[in-house]
C-alpha cells in the first residue's frame, strides 16, 4: 500500500502572463518502507514537489495523501501535528540550531510535540548512538564536522515515530564517500519501515533508491524499472563476472 501519494498535483506561482507552472499534474505513489529518488535538473520542480508532499506548501490543484489521509481534509492543527510527529525533513543546509547541542537539536521536535525533556533527550541520544555519534551529542553544531552535522540532521529527521522522511539534496557539499553514508543511513531507516523521498540532481545518490523517478519542467517523465536482483548485472554483462 502506498504511504505517500500525490494525485494530479499542480502548482503555479504568479498569474496571467507571469504565471509559472512549477508542477503539472504530478502523480506519484510511494510504497511504505521504500526509498524513492526524484531526479531532475535545477528548476525542474523537484524541491516544490517535496515541500508540497511535506505539507509545507499547498498545491494549486490535486491532492496529497499520507497514510490514507488526504491533507486537504485535515485541519491546520492536524497538519501541524503531522509535521511535528510524522514527517522528518532533511534539507541540504541542515538547519541545526547553533545554540543547541546535537542532542538538544535532535530532541527539539519531540519536545515541541509534548514529549518530556528527559524522554526526548533519551530518545535523541539513542538515535545519535545508532548513527555512530554516541560521544558527540554534547557538542554544538560548530564543534562538529560536516559529516557529523549531517548525521545529527538525519537523526533529527528520523527521531521518535517519524515515518516519512523527505530529503532535499541530502549530500549537500559533502564528498562522495560521506554522501554515500548519508544514503546508507536513509536506506537503513527505510528497511526499518520509514518511507523516504529524496530529491537530487545527482545520479550516484539517486542510485541508492528502490525507484528513481525523473522530473522535467514540472512533469514526471519517466521512472526506472526495478532490477530483478543485483546479481543480474554480473550474470548478463559480458565482461563482469562473479
Amino acid at each position: 500500500m502506498s504511504y505517500l501519494e500525490l494525485r494530479g498535483v499542480s502548482k503555479s506561482y504568479g498569474t496571467g502572463a507571469a504565471e509559472v507552472h512549477a508542477l503539472a499534474d504530478v502523480n506519484l505513489a510511494v510504497e511504505k518502507g521504500s526509498l524513492v529518488a526524484v531526479m531532475g535538473p535545477s528548476g525542474s520542480g523537484k524541491s516544490t514537489l517535496l515541500t508540497i508532499a511535506g505539507s509545507l506548501e499547498e498545491p494549486t490543484s490535486g491532492e496529497v495523501v499520507i497514510d490514507g489521509d488526504p491533507l486537504s481534509s485535515m485541519s491546520r492543527s492536524d497538519k501541524a501535528r503531522l509535521r511535528r510527529r510524522t514527517i522528518g525533513y532533511f534539507f541540504q543546509d541542515f538547519n541545526l540550531l547553533a545554540g543547541l547541542t546535537a542532542t538538544e537539536n535532535v530532541a527539539l521536535p519531540l519536545e515541541l510535540d509534548g514529549v518530556s525533556g528527559r524522554s526526548a533527550s533519551r530518545m535523541a541520544a539513542a538515535v545519535l548512538a545508532d548513527l555512530g555519534m554516541a560521544d558527540r551529542g554534547g557538542h554544538y553544531p560548530d564543534e562538529l564536522s560536516g559529516g557529523e552535522r549531517q548525521r545529527a540532521a538525519i537523526a533529527r529527521a528520523i527521531v521518535g515515530e517519524r515515518s516519512l522522511l523527505l530529503a532535499d539534496e541530502p549530500s549537500g557539499a559533502l564528498d562522495s564517500i560521506n554522501g554515500e553514508s548519508v544514503m546508507r543511513m536513509i536506506l537503513n531507516a527505510c528497511r526499518r519501515g520509514v518511507t523516504a523521498v529524496v530529491v537530487t540532481h545527482d545520479a550516484q545518490l539517486a542510485s541508492w533508491a528502490d525507484r528513481v523517478v525523473f522530473i522535467r519542467d514540472g512533469r514526471i517523465v519517466d521512472q526506472t524499472v526495478p532490477p530483478p536482483s543485483p546479481e543480474a548485472l554480473l550474470a548478463d554483462a559480458p565482461a563482469p563476472r562473479r
Binding site: 542510485s207 519517466d222 543485483p230 543480474a232 548485472l233 565482461a239
Partner: protein
C-alpha cells in the same frame, strides 16, 4: 587490465606459488574481471623468459606448485608501469555521443526523449552497482573500489546527458546561429 603487471605486483612483497598467484588475482580484482587459469601460467612463462621473474629450478613447466620471485628488472618494470598514466588524450569513439548527435538530425525525433532513454538505462545500471556495493562493500574493500570506478564512469555519462539536455534546451530558445561552425581539427597533446 594488465595481467603481466598485476602478477609482478603480487610478487613484489614475497615469492609465491603459481596457484597462490591465481587465487590472489581473482580476489584482488573483486572477482569481476574474468581470467582463465592458462592465462596466468602463460604470462608467468613470458615474464620468466623476459627476466622479470625467476622460479625455482625443480620443475620445468610453470604450474601451481612452482615458486616464483620478482627480479630487479621486474621491480623496475613494475615501478615504471605504476607511474605511467595510461593514454587518455584521444577521445574514445563513443557510441552514445554519436546516437545523441545523430538524433539531432532526424526529423520527428525528440532528442530529449532519446537522452532520457539512455539516462534511465544508465541510472538502472547504477542502481544495480550500488546494491552490490551495499551488500558487499562493508567486507570487501577491493569490490568497493571496483564498484566506485564503475559508478563514477556511468555517472560521468549521465552528467554529460544532463548537460547536453540543458544545452540543447537553451539553444532551442535562442535564435539560430547562421555562421558555419568551425571545423575542429585540433589534437590534444599529451604531456606526461
Amino acid at each position: 587490465m594488465s595481467v603481466r603487471h598485476a602478477l609482478l605486483a603480487f610478487l613484489s612483497a614475497r615469492p609465491k606459488y603459481g596457484l597462490q598467484l591465481r587465487e590472489e588475482f581473482e580476489e584482488s580484482t573483486g572477482e569481476v574481471w574474468p581470467l582463465n587459469v592458462g592465462q596466468v601460467y602463460t604470462t608467468l612463462q613470458r615474464l620468466e623468459r623476459d627476466g622479470m621473474i625467476e622460479s625455482d629450478e625443480s620443475e620445468d613447466e610453470p604450474g601451481p606448485q612452482k615458486v616464483f620471485k620478482i627480479t630487479e628488472a621486474g621491480r623496475v618494470e613494475l615501478d615504471q608501469w605504476l607511474n605511467t598514466p595510461p593514454d587518455m588524450a584521444q577521445p574514445p569513439r563513443d557510441e552514445l555521443v554519436i546516437k545523441v548527435l545523430s538524433a539531432l538530425r532526424v526529423p520527428g525525433v525528440s532528442v530529449h526523449d532519446v537522452i532520457q532513454v539512455h539516462r534511465r538505462y544508465l541510472v538502472e545500471l547504477m542502481q544495480q552497482w550500488t546494491r552490490l556495493k551495499e551488500d558487499e562493500a562493508d567486507f570487501d574493500l577491493t569490490f568497493a573500489l571496483v564498484g566506485d570506478a564503475e559508478l563514477f564512469r556511468l555517472d560521468s555519462v549521465v552528467r554529460w546527458l544532463d548537460a547536453a539536455d540543458s544545452r540543447l534546451k537553451r539553444a532551442a530558445l535562442e535564435p539560430p546561429d547562421t555562421k558555419p561552425a568551425p571545423l575542429i581539427r585540433r589534437r590534444l597533446v599529451t604531456r606526461r
